[in-house]
């Protein structure tokens, strides 16, 4: 590791933190645009002015917005996500298990989808313009047009209702045996995989094809190297960064897709929790969940950037 690489990565991380800070401002501001306020929505339209004023004072709503933002942020940094308006529970407590459930689902989806997508992307490159490639391109077009709930309910209809192989509702609980847990996430996992797979395949294909069209691949061919050696020795080192980029981008899609899929399968994750509280207009919960989703999203993008810095020979071996 040389100083330039270290400096670039440090820069990227600092930028990420700055971005996250800006996002927190934006999310906070986004919940301030409504006339009326939280106190009003807790007590409803029929509340007496005295009760409203009392609650406002209690919640600090009379302070200027920036002061409320700073105390919110201060709480966040200490792991205090605030309390939910709807039931008065501590948000961090209610979220803990749900975040774990969401990551469990996302993790196992990624474990299946990422290698599969890269493999199929390679197949498409290997058989460029032949039928496997055409099938893959065609399925992408369809896949990006399908709403999550179409795939989800279709799978439920087929595998849970008609065939009865898998549960239609993905109930999980603490202390559930691993194998049962996997069974519970089979359908939501499959839905998520189908959503991101085609996209990831097509982008992997494009990234590798781009490298395969470089002049140095022609050089390798004219050196008399075999097909696999060309891919392994000459295409692979230069494809790492673009492919990692593709994967990270799709994992970011996955994180968002999780929200809808959790609702379809009534899966007790963070997305389900977020949607419930949006409907209840429970602002502190929405802010907390929104920030967590955004942080994961930004984090994935930083990983992609760091990998492309690390795999760039120009940066690793400066003049």
């Amino acid at each position: 590791m040389n100083t330039i690489v270290v400096k670039l990565i440090a820069q990227r991380l600092a930028l990420g933190i700055l971005l996250l800070l800006a996002v927190s401002v934006l999310i906070f501001a986004g919940t301030q645009i409504l006339p009326g306020d939280v106190a009003q929505s807790i007590l409803g339209q029929s509340a007496t002015p005295e009760a409203l004023a009392n609650l406002r004072r209690e919640m600090g709503l009379n302070d200027p917005a920036w002061q409320r933002y700073l105390s919110w942020l201060g709480g966040l940094l200490q792991g205090d996500l605030g309390t939910a308006l709807s039931n008065g529970q501590d948000i961090a407590d209610s979220l803990g298990g749900r975040v774990a459930n969401t990551f469990f689902l996302a993790f196992w989806t990624a474990v299946v989808a990422v290698p599969l997508a890269i493999l199929l992307g390679l197949v498409a490159v290997r058989y460029q313009n032949r039928w496997p490639d055409k099938v893959i391109s065609g399925s992408t077009l369809t896949a990006i047009s399908l709403p999550e709930f179409f795939i989800g309910y279709l799978l439920i209809y087929l595998f849970a209702v008609k065939l009865g192989w898998l549960p239609s509702v993905s109930t999980v609980y603490d202390g559930m045996p691993f194998i049962d847990r996997m069974r519970a996430i089979a359908l939501p996992g499959a839905t998520l995989t189908l959503i991101i797979l085609a996209h990831m395949m097509r982008m992997t294909r494009a990234a590798i094809l781009n490298v395969m069209q470089s002049a140095y691949i022609e050089t390798a061919e004219l050196k008399g190297l075999g097909g696999l050696k060309i891919i392994w020795r000459h295409a692979f080192p230069n494809s790492v960064a673009p492919v990692v980029n593709v994967v990270m981008l799709n994992l970011a899609f996955l994180v968002v897709g999780v929200v809808v899929v959790e609702v379809i399968f009534v899966y007790p994750g963070m997305g389900q929790y977020l949607i419930d509280h949006v409907a209840k207009r429970d602002v502190p919960v929405v802010q907390a969940c929104g920030l967590i989703f955004a942080a994961v999203y930004i984090g994935l993008n930083i990983v992609a950037d760091v990998v492309s810095i690390l795999s760039n020979p120009r940066l690793r071996h400066p003049k």
Binding site: S214, A215, Y216, E218, T219, L222, G224, L225, H234, R314
Partner: protein, 545 residues
């Protein structure tokens, strides 16, 4: 016959084209080519773009780029017909018997691996030597090719060395497995002229020392004359003339070859500069942004009405920056520009419409200098409306007149740039500049993207228009042959400074300064043996010092 390294009979090469909205179809791009090459000899393949020279050149490796296939004839390497040898046979052939040197070494090296690993890869792949032997061989080749610090040169990555060095490293990579035949595909075209001569000499030495046979593909007849034993002239995928190098250069038989040999023999009588110049730039110093190093330092030039000043230099000399300063696109840090008796505002914003009208510009890449969505009529007509308020029939008439002046007919009036050839595009750009009736046209490398014969046509047109329209040219170029053809005065630029300036005869008459001498002696001459003379005289000069 059996002794020949390479024999090609009745070669036919086809390609599949896929025009948008139509069915793909096959076209023949090369037909009826016969050639043979003895061991240790060099055959030059020469032609303009689209002549099929690279396609033919790659056939001994059994390789076709993007949908190109050999569909007929035979290609024998060391007596074996490689078209019958299958994928495995081709892999055995490539790298072992036939190696390749690409035009752009910068793109042809894998950025992810050290040079040494790439240079010896073929040798190891075909088990021609152990790693130690291969590395020793590579170091020896680096030395032969005049690379700096040959012992450690291979430790570097491609982006860490210069373009000229990469080109030599690519030659080393081709020579390392000790093949019988090397295909050189325009190996010096991307290089500056002073770098080209060294690389050319290095390649020639290496060929002589190793006794390898070679196909040398280029568009530059003067270059190939230095290195080839025989030359084949190609045009539109067919052979025009094939013979000994001396015969092709000294007594070409075919009219097309004669035209290629006599290219750039335009004669232009030098005019003497007037007392008060039309344009004078004084003490120009410029940088691309404050804080960045100066690209131009203390540059002063002058140009008389109706004459041509050629600003010549290699890449990085600052010649194009000078053009940008004069147009107002890049305000200089210091210095001023006087034009037609008045001082021009440094920034484009401060210049009047009249200033802009009188100072026009023509670009190197004609196809991006015209809006692809405008017709020729709009492209040439817009300045007429903008500067003179011409509309309707009057404008149409003037556009047709201008088309006539650039030797293009009225049928081009409604065409789009995509429907024109390279030379026609550049002519339309000239007409667009002329439409403003300027006093000065800045020509930025206007012929360097064109094939030599087309470029010649453009230069002749520019000279004729100078006679009739009395327009002055500031001609930015890296090509000394062009300079000799059209200039009245010359400014030689090097690293942001004018190192030599005067009338053409003054600048081109000795005694020279070191850089001008180097530049002048580096331009390939259309004669056999020029390279040796140039290198010899350089050696003598350096011993004399």
């Amino acid at each position: 016959m059996a002794d020949n390294l390479l024999d090609i009979h009745n070669l036919k090469i086809e390609a599949t084209v896929r025009p948008p909205g139509e069915k793909p179809r096959d076209i023949t791009i090369v037909e009826d080519i016969n050639l043979s090459l003895e061991k240790g000899k060099v055959l030059g393949l020469i032609g303009e773009s689209g002549a099929g020279k690279s396609t033919i050149g790659l056939s001994p490796a059994g390789y076709g780029r993007g949908g190109v296939r050999i569909t007929g004839g035979e290609v024998r390497v060391n007596g074996r017909d490689i078209l019958q040898s299958g994928a495995r046979g081709l892999r055995q052939l490539r790298g072992k018997e036939v190696c390749y040197v690409a035009q752009s070494a910068a793109a042809a090296f894998n950025p992810a691996h050290r040079l040494m690993d790439q240079v010896i890869e073929t040798t190891l792949e075909h088990k021609l030597a152990t790693r130690e032997e291969a590395e020793a061989r590579a170091v020896a080749l680096f030395r032969t090719l005049g690379l700096p610090d040959p012992e450690h040169f291979g430790d570097r990555y491609p982006h860490q060395v210069s373009g000229g060095q990469l080109q030599r490293a690519m030659t080393a990579m081709a020579l390392c497995p000790q093949p019988d035949l090397i295909i050189f595909d325009e190996p010096t075209t991307a290089l500056d002229v002073t770098t080209q001569i060294d690389v050319l000499a290095a390649i020639k030495d290496a060929i002589r020392e190793t006794g390898v046979g070679a196909l040398y593909i280029t568009h530059d007849l003067a270059v190939v004359a230095q290195i080839a034993d025989e030359i084949m002239v190609l045009r539109d995928g067919a052979m025009v003339e094939y013979g000994e190098t001396r015969q092709i250069i000294e007594s070409p038989q075919q009219p097309y070859t004669q035209a290629l040999v006599s290219v750039r023999s335009i004669q232009h009588r030098q005019q003497t500069p007037a007392e008060s110049p039309l344009l004078s730039a004084r003490n120009i110093t410029a940088a691309y942004a404050t804080g960045l190093p100066d690209v131009l330092s203390d540059v002063s030039i002058g140009l008389s009405e109706g004459q041509t000043l050629a600003v010549v230099g290699e890449s990085g000399s600052g010649k194009s920056t000078l053009a940008r300063v004069i147009t107002g696109l890049l305000p200089p840090r210091e210095g001023d520009i006087e034009f037609d008796g008045r001082t021009l505002s440094a920034a484009l914003k401060g210049r009047s419409k009249e200033d802009r009208r009188q100072l026009q510009m023509i670009y190197q890449m004609a196809d991006v200098a015209m809006n692809p969505r405008h017709t020729v009529a709009t492209i040439i007509g817009r300045p007429l409306t903008f500067y003179f308020g011409l509309r309707g029939e009057a404008r149409r008439k003037r556009v047709l007149e201008l088309l006539d002046e650039i030797e293009m007919g009225p049928e081009f009036y409604d065409r789009y740039p995509a429907e024109l050839s390279g030379g026609q595009k550049q002519r339309v750009c000239i007409a667009r500049a002329l439409a403003a009736e300027p006093k000065l046209i800045i020509c930025d490398e206007v012929t360097s993207a064109l094939d030599p014969l087309v470029a010649d046509g453009i230069l002749k047109l520019l000279l004729r228009l100078q006679q009739t329209e009395k327009v002055a040219y500031l001609f930015i170029t890296h090509d000394l042959a062009t300079v000799k053809a059209i200039a009245d005065s010359i400014a030689v630029m090097y690293q942001g400074r004018v190192v030599r300036y005067g009338t053409k005869s003054e600048v081109l008459t000795p005694p020279f300064d070191d850089y001008t001498d180097l530049l002048l002696s580096s331009v390939p001459q259309m004669k056999v043996g020029w390279l040796e003379e140039a290198i010899d005289s350089r050696r003598m000069a350096s011993q004399g010092h």
